[in-house]
Subunit: 376 residues, 2 copies
């Protein structure tokens, strides 16, 4: 079966939604943060360690897995779940974002057919089309596949964006036509920058194609402002059906997650928690802290006393700082566990706040604490 979304409760004062998604790998609740396993591995963590963070859906990247080890290897393994030993739902992106951001020397040629580009690994010439992206994802056998879209830069002009959206809709139609995995949902993607009419046009036309869920893209590009991100959400959400999952792509800042939820978004993904972890940064309710800071040399308390993650239950800031400063990879792994758990816990708290119609109070309290008492 494909996924089934149930909207169970909407917050009285905002558009925040509490819901459940039934999948072939268990039922998960929304709002939800999805950790990213770019190359079929959430950096440095076993899938048991990820599960211990109370993860629901996790993400994997079509572009990276297409290049290495190749979708056929994963298909022969029995699909991504078996290949990477994750017994929970998996979402694959379309590869579009990576083609636009990673392609060698950013050399790429966008045609109606698809995108010609050079591999970021060996410079080999490649072509990714809507059909190819879906074919790869069908083979990866993720629970949710994404339509192949163009991800225009934040600086794109109105006219460029308009043409791009129209092509992305044609691409979405072509991808849907070849999608053939009966156990895989397919999501459409709404683009349109911070333009109200373009977001509306993109949302309405994409919804006409009747996808299993919808995502809001183009909000996590370099140079995108927070204001534009919130506009992009506000201009898209009214045109998305209430009985389908809404996914804000590439967003993992705690405040952005809260603002997204308030605007009606259900699921989020981002490399942020694992990337900042490898640089020694950890989320706390009082803001981010940097473990490289000398003040933690003899701090024998956990990152956060109110955190239930494995790292906070077993390790001190002093030890984590030591690992990070000497370059032991365990440091990044332990901080990743903490940061992933922090964002998952945040969405758990948001679910509770929705059930109690207290989302605005929760936001205000969280932001006050997070922004004003930044300890580093």
């Amino acid at each position: 079966m494909k996924i089934e979304y149930s909207l169970l409760k909407t917050d009285k004062n905002t558009k925040a939604r509490y819901g459940k998604i039934k999948t072939n790998y268990g039922e998960v609740e929304t709002p939800m943060f999805m950790p990213v396993g770019t190359r079929a591995s959430i950096k440095g963590l076993t899938t048991d360690q990820v599960k211990q963070c109370n993860s629901g859906i996790i993400l994997a990247n079509t572009y990276h897995l297409w290049l290495r080890p190749g979708e056929d290897v994963i298909n022969h393994a029995g699909g991504l779940h078996k290949f990477m030993n994750y017994n929970g739902p998996i979402l694959t992106d379309s590869g579009g974002f990576q083609v636009f951001s990673l392609a060698k020397n950013k050399e790429k040629d966008i045609t109606e057919e698809g995108v010609h580009f050079k591999s970021h690994i060996d410079g080999k010439k490649l072509l990714l089309t809507p059909e190819k992206s879906i074919a790869i994802q069908n083979k990866l056998d993720s629970d949710i596949a994404m339509s192949f879209d163009e991800c225009p830069p934040a600086s794109a002009s109105y006219q460029y964006l308009k043409n791009s959206i129209e092509r992305t809709i044609r691409w979405a139609k072509r991808g849907k036509a070849v999608h053939s995995n009966p156990n895989q949902a397919l999501f459409g993607i709404v683009q349109g920058g911070a333009y109200e009419d373009l977001r509306k046009f993109s949302a309405v036309e994409t919804v006409k194609l009747d996808f299993d869920g919808y995502s809001i893209g183009g909000v996590a590009n370099d140079g995108e402002s927070k204001e534009d991100m919130y506009k992009a959400i506000d201009y898209s959400i009214p045109y998305l059906p209430i009985d389908k999952v809404r996914y804000l792509m590439g967003v993992g800042d705690p405040i952005d997650i809260i603002e997204g939820v308030i605007r009606g978004v259900d699921i989020f993904d981002c490399v942020l928690p694992t990337r900042i972890a490898r640089h020694g940064q950890a989320f706390t309710s009082h803001g981010k802290i940097n473990l490289n800071n000398a003040k933690f040399i003899e701090d024998f308390t956990p990152i956060a006393t109110d955190c239930d993650c494995y790292t906070c239950k077993h390790y001190t800031k002093s030890y984590l700082r030591h690992l990070i400063t000497v370059g032991e990879s365990l440091g990044g792994s332990l901080l990743s566990i903490h940061n992933i758990r922090f964002l998952i816990k945040l969405t758990e708290d948001l679910r509770q706040a929705i059930k109690e119609d207290k989302v605005l109070e929760f936001r205000n309290q969280f932001i006050n604490k997070y922004q004003n008492k930044n300890t580093d």
Copy 2:
């Protein structure tokens, strides 16, 4: 209390010994392989993951911890066990081996007082003496500390070795005189290369100082032959008391462990299992395999079907190969778990063979399989 060693059984046909070591952190059995946590971290693994390999004693490096984070930080944390969250016995080396092998540009000046050298991190001038090494280890609060010794290169002349041993004995005496941690055992180190008279002299004189255990050093230098290693053991063991632990330093090749046990050695340590793991190599009963090999691309079986480690229970060679070839650190961590478990299991099997007086049969069967059916 300090450690207490009990010799429980000797193999009928060899010098192989089965014994137990009582420590403040539990009782452990010998023969035993000790995983190495150079900088208070067994690379890429949580201490729970290490424990899951059925680890007993683990190792940490005095030299590295002295430089970063410093012995005072660890002392203020409550000692090494609390600092790194390992609830089992820990052995610290003396720092000698690292001073001789890592010092910047190998510039070092060996005097009667100690060794003047430059930090491998920042080139800072440092002096490590027998008293300093013991003082650091006292503060680290390991269960077993090692005497500070000179580690001469394999190429050292007879005369150089003789002088070196005499100084190492004077250093051992000085270190013992200042050792002051009532919960920490102190081991002496036998040197002497592959010379029978030097090993005898070193062993007899070191034993006169009455240490809590004895190690055989100078067998894991670059350029040391296997033959010389076995000679070094054979020439030292007869002069070591049977009621004290015997430790062969820096040895982790499976066959060398078996040969060491047969010659009367109890405990071993080596970075080998974790180092080769990061390069994609895994121990199997049929020899080492290299996961980089293309033949594993679609090999959906575990590294070893007869292995009970976490990695073999959860991951395939195909997936591990993918992680190693794309450079995901999880690959090295998972192979480290397997390799550490392999060596620990080997010593468990040796214990059983000693109990059954079947050590020689075990050796022959193991070596036949390991050397003749190397699959890579």
